[in-house]
Symmetry: C2
């Protein structure tokens, strides 16, 4: 039975009503269409959607202006580096050789790439979109706060998040600053504080990411299939996502473009298989639930498909279907693989960055690297790393990370020796060993998902980049667009290892730029 | 002890930290800086602020386009009517004569006005700001849906709410419409539905209200006190407000103007007394907590002070202090009193509207009136109304309302006879009797604060107006600005009498304009 609203000109089938209600809830919680629940006032009712604010820092956390600007300035070089890595399957294949043997996730992605690549052999150049984020911490080289520098924590190419939250929280700190909320004259500590707006950089990351998506949509051009008249973007999302406030505003901003860029969400993987199809020419069609008329997809923007467990048979099928289409995929499988920690380690090897970038750019990029060692059995560095991780004193300065992408699953300092004792030596090559970054600690107050924290904190600056390039053009790559697209800034308690905001540790923040 | 953050360039006194944290939470819930709480995923943590979406209609509810436009077109006439009522203390005093005798709230407000008016005698013209909302329902004149008209429910002059929520929910319905979320081809009901964007009017109420506030701020001009260099607006708010998502965006939008208009919140009444003062010239100064330097207040925007219980001794003192200042008060006490239901009833008397407006405008305004009867002992109409309320059959077509302002406390139809039996006849004059509006019923689905409702609904259109005028100029009033400033649209279950959104009955909605 359809939603049969007597006399109402609108109605939809029952099975779409719950979807519509979820869309409404998401719109509301991302636009402040809310009633506060106050204990004792109105919190006795059962309520259909609850939400809590994302973790935030109360005061913006200091960060040297020069090092903020440096991270901005080298973003284009990093974009270019990862574009070129994504277009060098030979190098990437060699770097991932151990993982392709021992890790089923890498195997699955690599096989999808091989199948797609075989199928596309000889085809004209494909356009690719990258939305990247390079994460940095401050590194206190001498341990006395006198020689600070930035060190890259990781480089993300897949489903990079935090752009929207970072934007909103940056706006929040700037708003509070202009109201005087951070100022105090003659505090009992005897100090006069004044927060100046010019010390809080403007955050325009939503605009930056959307500009990247829009450029790709425009590069795709008008619909090519004779059956359809319109193009649209597809955002591939996870089911039961609690972080929709980071995704939805990008989607709304696309619809808000002039002319409007339709952006439809599909859940990975079932809904992808159910609602998309390929034409004979491998054009990607999306079949919306509200009309029999399909639309042609210009850009596939992945915000799902980064977790091993998503690659069931259906997941592999869905990813393969999207990747072999003529839509612009963000990111391509090779760009996805380029985010694996193993690649970050391989780039530390002398000559590796220089393979992709001219010397001057390579030098700037390399200056942000921490020492990262492989954990393989064969190489000299691998043997050195294996030795190091058996010595509980020397291991203190290192982090053991899985070679794959994403945060979490890291093993820190003193935990490394006992952890490896439980892992078969054959599997050690699935890790890399990274020298700890030693950030200066400064006090702040954090409103985390786990309560209020006051004490020493450390921050991480995430610099966003968007880029568009054509592969296989003549003897290489043609970079069509390469931009720095904004930033996010996260802060956590200094004694907590995890920066995850969703798990309630990390907090969004804004740098307070100091001399 | 101040917030002594070691090495951090910022810190504020302890007693301001909780205020800052509340500001942060409000910013977050009004900007979608949130994490959804999903049962079984992340809802096991204790959380510092929870919130739920405001009630909304799933589908926009039909409303005739012509009647939407009529409400828009007559708003300026209504603004003018209430400007002129606010400047006619003689007429207003006569209308409220019973209440000034029997109702302590009216007494208190009237005495504040008398004191202020005595003090200001002979002073040059004062500028006044009005932010009004006229509420309408559809009236089905013949009971068969063939002859629909709009009928005014009430006219609000004090702390009119819902502009922000209405704006956001209007945007939401337009967004959902453009994505096809309301469309269905060949539903099992066999109908094809398509929601067209042109049937959903654009809602720009936040902009409209802010433009009104800004015009007043600019009319005030630069600071006049020699001690201060800056002017700012003051928003007077209630403590423990759960509806901050309706207020805060107006404040943020003021700060976002170029140049920025500072807008500070003060809680009525304690914080008003603590943080504001008058100079010898009766300029209103606000003393922010973050600096020793006061600012001069251009506009006082009341979003508190409408409830009887707020007028304690401190409340009276606070209201008096603000009203006798040279700041532009929104609304003035007489504008406030003009919103009392007794005034609405008095305007129904032939000749009353015509006292204030030329005949053509008066006719348009009067066409929206329902019959409203006084309940006094003396007048012929009052005697008729008293008879009527003793007859349970005839009483069914009426609503008994307190003569004061605001929603709630109404007594409907069959409840009137038993209700009055418990009220002393001497106090009957504190009520007015209004003929019921008979709206057509149409089905819809509502996501209310009390759960999902599907069934017949009725809607209420609230038309916003802002106006600026100078009193006591020559022999009358000079209207400086008179605008329609947007709308809100609320929908509730047809069998529920209350429209209150905060109590979980009413839902924000968008009219679906029909031919």
């Amino acid at each position: 039975m359809g939603q049969n609203l007597s006399d109402h000109p609108l109605a939809i089938p029952d099975n779409r009503l719950q979807i519509l209600i979820n869309q409404i809830k998401d719109y509301q919680i991302t636009h402040g269409s809310l009633i506060k629940l106050l204990p004792g006032v109105n919190n006795n009712e059962e309520s259909p959607v609850q939400s809590v604010p994302v973790g935030v820092a109360v005061f913006p956390t200091p960060w040297p202006r020069e090092l903020f600007e440096r991270a901005t300035e080298i973003q284009q070089a990093f974009n270019e580096l990862y574009i070129r890595i994504s277009e060098d399957p030979k190098w990437l294949g060699d770097v991932l050789v151990d993982l392709r043997r021992s890790d089923s996730f890498t195997q699955k992605l690599w096989r999808i790439w091989e199948a797609v690549s075989e199928e596309q052999k000889g085809e004209e150049g494909r356009t690719n979109l990258g939305i990247f984020r390079s994460d940095y911490m401050l590194h206190d080289r001498r341990g006395d706060g006198q020689e600070l520098d930035i060190r890259q924590v990781e480089f993300n190419t897949f489903s990079v998040a935090g752009g929207t939250h970072g934007n909103i929280v940056g706006n929040m700190h700037r708003h509070l600053c202009r109201t005087g909320a951070f100022d105090a004259e003659n505090t009992t500590a005897g100090k006069t504080n004044q927060c100046k707006l010019e010390n809080l950089p403007i955050n325009d990351t939503i605009k930056g990411i959307v500009a990247g998506l829009k450029a790709a949509h425009e590069a795709y051009g008008p619909a090519r299939s004779s059956d359809v008249s319109a193009t649209a973007m597809l955002m591939v999302v996870q089911p039961h996502n609690i972080n929709i406030c980071d995704e939805r505003p990008l989607e709304y901003a696309l619809w808000d473009q002039s002319p409007s860029i339709p952006c439809y969400r599909v859940v990975f993987s079932d809904e992808v298989l159910e609602r998309t199809s390929l034409t004979a020419d491998k054009l990607l069609l999306y079949h919306p639930p509200h009309t029999a008329q399909p639309v042609e997809i210009s850009v596939v923007y992945f915000r799902a498909g980064y977790d091993m467990h998503e690659y069931t048979d259906a997941g592999i099928k869905a990813r393969y279907l999207l990747d072999r289409s003529r839509a612009i995929i963000c990111p391509s499988i090779l760009s996805h693989l380029a985010t694996f920690k193993k690649v970050q380690q391989a780039l530390c090897v002398p000559g590796a960055v220089e393979r992709f970038l001219p010397d001057e750019k390579a030098r700037l990029v390399r200056a942000t690297f921490s020492a990262i060692l492989p954990m393989d059995e064969e190489s000299r560095l691998g043997q050195y790393a294996r030795e190091l991780t058996q010595d509980s004193v020397r291991a203190i300065d290192y982090i053991l990370k899985p070679s794959l992408e994403g945060g979490g699953h890291n093993v820190y300092g003193i935990d490394i020796v006992p952890f490896l004792a439980k892992v078969h030596k054959r599997r050690w090559a699935q890790y890399i060993l990274m020298e700890c970054i030693r950030p200066p600690k400064i006090d702040n107050i954090l409103l985390t998902g786990r309560g209020v924290y006051q004490g020493p904190v450390v921050s991480e600056l995430g610099m966003f980049g968007t880029c568009l390039w054509m592969s296989d053009v003549g003897d290489g790559v043609e970079i069509l667009r390469n931009e720095c697209a904004g930033w996010s800034f996260k802060t956590k308690a200094a004694d907590v290892d995890e920066m995850s905001v969703v798990k309630g540790y990390g907090c969004f923040d804004c740098p307070y730029l100091t001399v």
